[in-house]
């Protein structure tokens, strides 16, 4: 039962990552493979504030979101003014730099060995230290994030983002400041990734750079491609399936645990290639009739 609750919690946290990445790639069409960097910045900020300054979870979460949004401007302001193909490389570089900072700034992050003993989330003296209570907390926060993204999708702002994805020059020709819209969407997506980061840190009570590397950014991307970019339902479905699927591998008899990770990556890679080739709109897709 604990195992099932664990998977559900991870699914909920991953949903925050994928629906927020969907704002960037699914709506605005910004291909910035650095979402795990924002996830990590959120996780480390919340962790350090809780462990070193004794901040409670929610204030630490707020600060983590604030700092991540500010740091996202490092990528957004220069990156979104250049052509999209340079932006891809720019964002990729940011992901690599963030990972190396987490690994090498040992005084602050304790490097590859990570930070352990992160206190559980608590509010007004109530601690979410049981799996059931933490699952409920994640359910509330994830539902809030999904609702927020849904509202963005159906807003005037969301319409302009979709317009940017279709034709950026046309959006300029109707008087919209494309760069400003892109930067705001980037800030929102980064801020939401930080929420996921704060949640994962208090849940596992341990963080290490390996959680926030390029593979995680690619995993988020695959969830979008699998489920269907631009469709919240599709993205959630993609996240549920791809988070749960590797867990099923554990039940395959005689599969040595040493090759479990490799098998999972192989499945992800196969899904990525097959979907790009045969169903680029994903399972649910963005087909509107």
């Amino acid at each position: 039962m604990d195992y099932l609750l664990h998977i559900l919690i991870i699914i909920l946290i991953n949903i925050i990552l994928t629906v927020s990445f969907n704002i960037l790639l699914g709506y605005t069409g910004i291909f910035a493979l650095c979402h795990a960097a924002f996830y990590g910045i959120g996780a480390y900020t919340a962790t350090l504030l809780m462990k070193n300054f004794g901040l409670a979870f929610f204030p630490a979460l707020g600060c983590a979101v604030g700092l991540t949004v500010l740091l996202s401007l490092i990528v957004a302001i220069p990156g979104l003014r250049i052509h999209w193909d340079y932006m891809v490389i720019f964002a990729f570089s940011f992901q690599m730099i963030a990972y190396h900072v987490m690994t090498n700034w040992v005084d602050l992050t304790r490097g590859p060995q990570g930070i352990a003993g992160i206190p559980p989330a608590a509010i007004f003296g109530y601690s979410f230290d049981s799996k059931v209570s933490f699952l409920l907390l994640c359910l509330i926060i994830t539902s809030g994030v999904v609702y927020l993204v849904k509202r963005i999708e159906s807003s005037s702002f969301g319409l302009v983002l979709k317009g940017i994805k279709d034709d950026e020059i046309a959006v300029k020709s109707v008087g919209k400041n494309v760069t400003a819209y892109k930067i705001i969407s980037f800030m929102i997506a980064a801020g939401l990734a930080a929420v996921a980061g704060a949640l994962i840190s208090v849940y596992i009570s341990y963080i290490a750079p390996g959680y926030f590397d390029l593979n995680t950014s690619i995993f988020i991307l695959i969830c979008l491609i699998f489920g269907g970019m631009g469709s919240i339902r599709g993205v959630i479905l993609g996240t549920v399936v791809l988070t749960a699927l590797p867990e099923l591998l554990r039940f395959i008899p005689n599969l040595p645990s040493a090759i479990l990770g490799g098998t999972r990556d192989l499945i992800y890679a196969a899904i990525l290639i097959l979907f790009m080739l045969f169903r680029p709109q994903g399972i649910v897709g963005k087909t509107r009739q």
Binding site: L148, I152, S154, F157, D166, A170, S173, V174
Partner: protein
């Protein structure tokens, strides 16, 4: 005669190619002007320069005597000049109504948080205004359809609707009738353009290949060839110039 938009000595080269050479045009307020010329004459380049998509190498652009040469496209739309595209550039994955709603200018009284989180469908003012525009261009019945499902003629009308949604005073239309049958042009486009000028106080400038349409509708025509203005004036005066007739109008 009141000039609303004016260029003074515009030069633009792409590498060794002189796309515009010393171009002076004066667009009169609340009139329909036309820009004609053979393919490659520089008509679309001039539109791009007027709207801030391309910066001229030399020369100035004045909107109501205000220099807008260095302004970006978005700012120029706010100041009152907007354009349509020859290739339409519609948002194909959005509906007709969505295309128009998103092109409306931002309401200053609108709360920025509501712009990001409020449903556009619940913004009565925006929806009502958009439907009025769609009715004016006679495409209201297709408001809920995705643009990519429309016929080319319908898409042309959506492009005009989107242009109107910007609420710009000066509307630059790049080949609004190309690909349309004569009936649609005469029954829909021509009366619409006249209505925009006469009843709505807009200023219209057309890039057109149809000499007939330009001469019937425009009060001033600029003839552009190889990046230069070779003639300009009232269509009747231009028609009487036999040399121009022979050398220019027949090659368009």
């Amino acid at each position: 005669m009141s000039i609303i938009l004016e260029t003074k000595g515009i030069h633009k080269s792409f590498g060794g190619l002189k796309a515009l050479y010393d171009v002076d045009v004066k667009i009169e307020e609340r009139k329909i002007s036309g820009l004609i010329g053979p393919n490659g004459a520089g008509k679309t380049t001039l539109f791009n320069v007027l709207c801030g998509f391309i910066k001229p190498d030399r020369g100035r652009i004045l909107l109501k005597d205000r220099d807008i040469t260095e302004k970006g496209p978005q700012k120029i739309v706010h100041l009152g000049v907007a354009r349509s595209w020859q290739g339409l550039r519609l948002f194909e994955n959005l509906t007709v109504l969505e295309n128009v709603v998103m092109s409306l200018p931002r309401d200053d009284q609108e709360n920025p948080v509501m712009i990001i989180l409020g449903s556009w469908e619940k913004s009565q003012k925006k929806v009502k205004r958009s439907l009025e525009i769609l009715e004016m261009v006679q495409i209201k019945n297709r408001a809920a359809a995705l643009v990519k499902e429309l016929s080319y003629a319908e898409q042309k009308l959506v492009a005009i609707a989107r242009l109107l949604a910007t609420e710009a005073e000066v509307l630059l239309l790049d080949e609004p009738t190309s690909g349309l049958d004569e009936k649609t042009v005469n029954m829909v486009i021509a009366p619409l353009l006249k209505e925009l000028v006469v009843q709505r106080g807009k200023t219209v400038c057309l890039v057109e290949h149809s000499i007939k349409l330009v001469f019937n509708m425009c009060e001033r025509v600029f003839c552009l060839n190889e990046g230069m203005i070779v003639a300009s004036g009232h269509p009747l005066d231009l028609r009487q110039n036999e040399e121009l007739n022979r050398a220019f109008f027949q090659i368009i």
